[in-house]
Each structure stands twice: as C-alpha cells, then as structure tokens.
C-alpha cells in the first residue's frame, strides 16, 4: 500500500461528516435538520459497517491483499458515525432524559435493535489495537470480531423496523449484507467439505 493512501482514505471517510457540517452552516439541512443529521449519520454507520465487511471478499477476489491495511480504519469509522448517530438521539432527541431512553430501549423494538448494534461495536472498537490482538491471541481476537456480523444485522433490522411503509432503502442494505454473509458461509462450507485445504484456509482466514 502506498504511504499516501491511508491519510487520503482517512480524509475521504470524514467527507460525509464534513458535508453535514457544511450544510449545517449553510442552512442546507432541510426543514428538520435534526432528522437529517440522524438519518445521515445512521446511513454512514451502516455504510461503513458494510464497507468493513467488504474488505475481505474484495481483497480475495481482486488479489489486492494489502487492502487489509485499511479495514481497521473503516471499522473505526463505522463506530465513529455510530457514536454520532447515538449522540444525536441521546442529545438532540431525548435531551439526556435517561428515564425516557430506558423506556424507549425496552418498549421500542427499533431502538432495541439499534442499541444492540451499537453496543456490539464497542468491544470491537476497544480491541482494535495491535496490542489487543497480541494480548488476546489471533484466534480469540478473530472470534470476538465476528460480532460485527451481529452488529451489522441488528443495524439493518433497526432500519427496517423504523420505516413506515417504504422498505426500499433498508432492504438495499439488507441485500448487500446478505451477499457478504453468504460469501462467508460458502467459504466456510467449502473449507469444511475439503479438510485438506482447511490448513491453508487458516493461513488466510476466510472471515478475517
């Protein structure tokens, strides 16, 4: 990977936020700015979760194995936008009313799903350092980080349960997620069916 690439991708990942802030200062967030902020940070979270999950299939299909070097950044950006999304809810929607939020989490299934998606990301963000991988050991670290499948699934369900009638956008996310999960499942079935290849699969784990 060229040295300049990481900073460039980093800045590109910040572009959606920059766009949001720019629109905020130019009164371009529409009639209901808080809703616009909520929706766009939510969209970014799901998008970055799916980008993170795309790295492995992409690098295997394209044989550009260096792509793995970007994955942590994508994952952390998913967490970053997820945090902004949650903060929008906590601050601008509920005004830190803990009582109301707890009632929401218990009563509103789309909130329950969204919270689940977010809290599943926390251990992944916390153990995203090289030190954590060494400390946990590659295998355990990898097992832990499979939580991303559950987080992304909960995130998509959160969106599906939120909309009133038009399921088009949430189902687009669901379709991409399904493709990414099926890709893993096929890889997993193949490696089980051919145990001799299982050792080589270990060297470049499918789900990595």
């Amino acid at each position: 990977m060229p040295r300049w690439l990481k900073p460039v991708v980093f800045l590109a990942c910040l572009a959606p936020l920059a766009w949001l802030v720019w629109r905020g200062f130019h009164a371009q967030l529409g009639a209901n700015p808080i809703e616009t902020i909520t929706h766009s940070t939510g969209d970014c979270t799901l998008t970055f979760l799916l980008i993170t999950l795309s790295v492995t299939p992409l690098r295997r299909i394209s044989r550009q194995y260096w792509l793995i070097g970007l994955r942590r950044m994508f994952g952390l950006f998913a967490f970053f936008y997820g945090t902004l999304h949650l903060m929008t809810y906590v601050w601008l929607d509920k005004f830190f009313d803990v009582h109301e939020m707890l009632a929401d989490i218990a009563k509103r299934r789309f909130i329950t799903a969204g919270m689940t998606a977010y809290f599943l990301m926390i251990p992944l963000a916390l153990t995203s350092t090289k030190w954590s991988i060494r400390k946990l050991g590659g295998k355990r670290w990898q097992a832990l980080h499979r939580l991303i499948y559950f987080s992304a699934t909960a995130g998509v369900i959160h969106y599906i349960w939120l909309v009133k009638a038009d399921l088009k956008k949430p189902l687009e996310y669901a379709a991409v997620l399904a493709v990414l999960i099926v890709y893993r499942m096929i890889g997993w079935l193949v490696s089980r069916a051919a145990p001799s290849k299982a050792t080589s699969a270990k060297a470049t784990p499918l789900s990595s």
Binding site: L29, G30, F95, K164, A165, D166
Partner: protein, 327 residues
C-alpha cells in the same frame, strides 16, 4: 372570490414570506449561531433552519396566485407560523415520493386544472363538480392551524379554505349517510410515487359524518394567502387539525357518502399502527414510537403533544368512546 393571476399583482404588494418568520426565533437563532461556531455542529440551522435563506425564496415553489377577500377566523392560533419554505419542502406525499424533499420537485408539473370532484354514494344527487365551483361556494377564510404528523413533528400553517360542512350541506347527503370518504387522484403518469406499490393506491381517507360537519374540519385550497402549492395537496384537500396529518387527504377527486366506516389507506397498510380515528393523542403511543412529544419545525427542544392537538372543542365528538381502542 377572485383569484388573480400572479402578473396582476405588483410584487411590492406581496408580503415576503420571510416576514412570517417571527423575530424571537430569529434572535434565538442568532444567539445560538455564535455557539455553533465553537461546537462545529451547525446549531444555527438546527434551531432555525430558514434564518439564512430569508431572501432568495420568492421564486421557488409557490403556486403564486394570490387569493382575494380572505377573512380571518376565530379558530386561528396565534402561535408563530412555520416558514413557507419549510411547509413547502418537507412533505409527506407518497404519491410523488417517500422522501420529504421529493414532492417539492416532482409535483411541479402536476396538472391541477381542469379538475373535477365526483360526489357520490348516499347523496340526493350524484354529480361532478368543478373545483372552481366548489371554491366559490363560501368566502375563503384563513385558518392558522397546528398540524401534527404521526411521525412526531409539527408545523403551524395558515391554510385558506372554508368549513367542509359548507360543501356537505350543498350536496345533500341522505339520512343514511354516516361516513364520508375522500379519494386522492390516481394518476401514475403524473405521480411517480404511484408507480410503486408503497401504499394501496389511490389514497383513501374517511371521517364520521359528525366529524366532517365539525366547523374545524376545513376544505382547503390555499395557504399563506395563495393557492395551494402542488406539493401541499393542490387543488383541493381537507385539513383536520385535531387528527394526525395523514388523515388530511390531498388532491381530492371523489367525495363519497356511505353508511359503513370506510377503510383508510394507512389503516390498510398497517392496521395495528394507524386507526380510523387517528386523533392526536399523547397518551396512546404509536406501537413503534412515543407520541407524548413533538418537534415543532424550527424549534430546538421538543414540546409536549396536546390531546386533540389542543383542539378541545372536538372532545364532545368522542364522549364515551375508548380512545385507546379507537386510536
């Protein structure tokens, strides 16, 4: 009543929409704008979305034709009116788009003349009325109403129209008529949203006869002193301020009187979420979100939602009814 063409009116006679924006909100917006620079979150826009677009909005989406002889109404609220720009760019009008800012663009070429409204069902004389004949039935009134969406946001709109009862009285429903049903136009060629089965088209809404005869129920053909913009339900719609916004059907082509409670479109789509009555009620939550509070567009903090959206005069229509059951 005369509807002048836009060219008949000197532009200096038209009150700029910017003046609808109240001063206090402007000051609050300005104050918070200072903080916004520090927080980097564009709070100015959050608090008062239209502050910095005061000018430059005169062209845009207006239907343009001023309505003459508008009378004031005792039913009007004195609350600050939501800026025109917000009411015309933030629309739930799934016939055009499920995006809030979609109808403003997609409705621009929608044809609102010639326009007939079919009156049928349990009436003495079934007929087709021209919309311009209906508009002339009574003098136009400005009714500044609160409008609460089932999604949890609200606006204050200066509608123009007259009580729906004026129309109903003139078409003589028979004594068997217990309900009235309103149908929105079905025209997928003009309404791109109808090319997808997001809802069961055409859009249908209904009222009990006594609800429809209540003076607050408005037959509406204008707002902000002008003809209705296309994205807000032109050429003719109903406005029921004590009910969630979706009950206020737009672009009506049929009014049918019936003895059975009509099905309404959102009730067909999700019967456990949207009832026939759909009165604004902070004590009955939507199954998926709370209805206790609402965000008035342009305001930062949420405000409590009021029973019947604050229109207590309709309460007597529902005495003895379990409003949790009849949501």
């Amino acid at each position: 009543m005369l509807i002048k063409n836009a060219d008949d009116i000197r532009s200096s006679e038209i009150t700029p929409k910017s003046l609808y924006l109240n001063r206090r909100k402007f000051l609050a917006g300005a104050a918070i704008a200072g903080t916004a620079a520090a927080t980097g979150l564009g709070l100015r826009q959050i608090v008062s979305p239209s502050v910095s677009v005061l000018a430059g909005n005169m062209a845009g989406n207006t239907a343009g034709n001023k309505i003459d002889g508008i009378q004031k109404s005792p039913f009007s609220t004195t609350e600050a009116i939501t800026p025109y720009k917000d009411v015309t760019n933030y629309n739930n009008y799934y016939e055009f788009s499920t995006d809030k800012d979609g109808p403003a663009k997609l409705a621009q070429n929608f044809r609102t003349r010639p326009w007939k409204v079919k009156i049928d069902g349990l009436v003495e004389k079934k007929q087709e009325l021209d919309v311009d004949a209906i508009i002339k039935m009574a003098p136009p009134e400005e009714r500044i109403y609160r409008h609460r969406c089932v999604e949890g946001w609200s606006i204050v709109v200066p509608w123009v129209g007259f009580s729906l009862s004026e129309l109903i009285k003139r078409v003589n429903p028979t004594s068997k008529a217990k309900f009235v049903e309103f149908t929105t136009i079905l025209d997928p060629n003009q309404m791109p949203g109808q090319r997808r089965q997001v809802l069961d088209w055409p859009y249908v809404e209904g009222l009990r006869m006594d609800e429809a005869m209540h003076p607050l129920a408005l037959l509406c053909f204008g707002m902000y002193g002008e003809e209705l913009p296309k994205q807000d339900g032109a050429p003719i719609r109903i406005v029921l301020p004590w009910k969630y916004g979706f009950k206020s059907a737009k672009a009506i082509v049929r009014v049918r009187f019936t003895d059975k409670q009509p099905l309404n479109t959102w009730n067909i789509a999700a019967p456990n979420e949207y009832g026939f009555y759909s009165n604004v009620n902070p004590n009955v939550d939507h199954p998926r979100w709370s209805q206790a509070k609402e965000r008035r567009l342009g305001e930062f903090f949420k405000r409590p939602t009021l029973m019947f959206n604050g229109y207590d005069q309709v309460a007597s229509l529902y005495t003895g009814m379990d409003l949790k059951k009849n949501f």
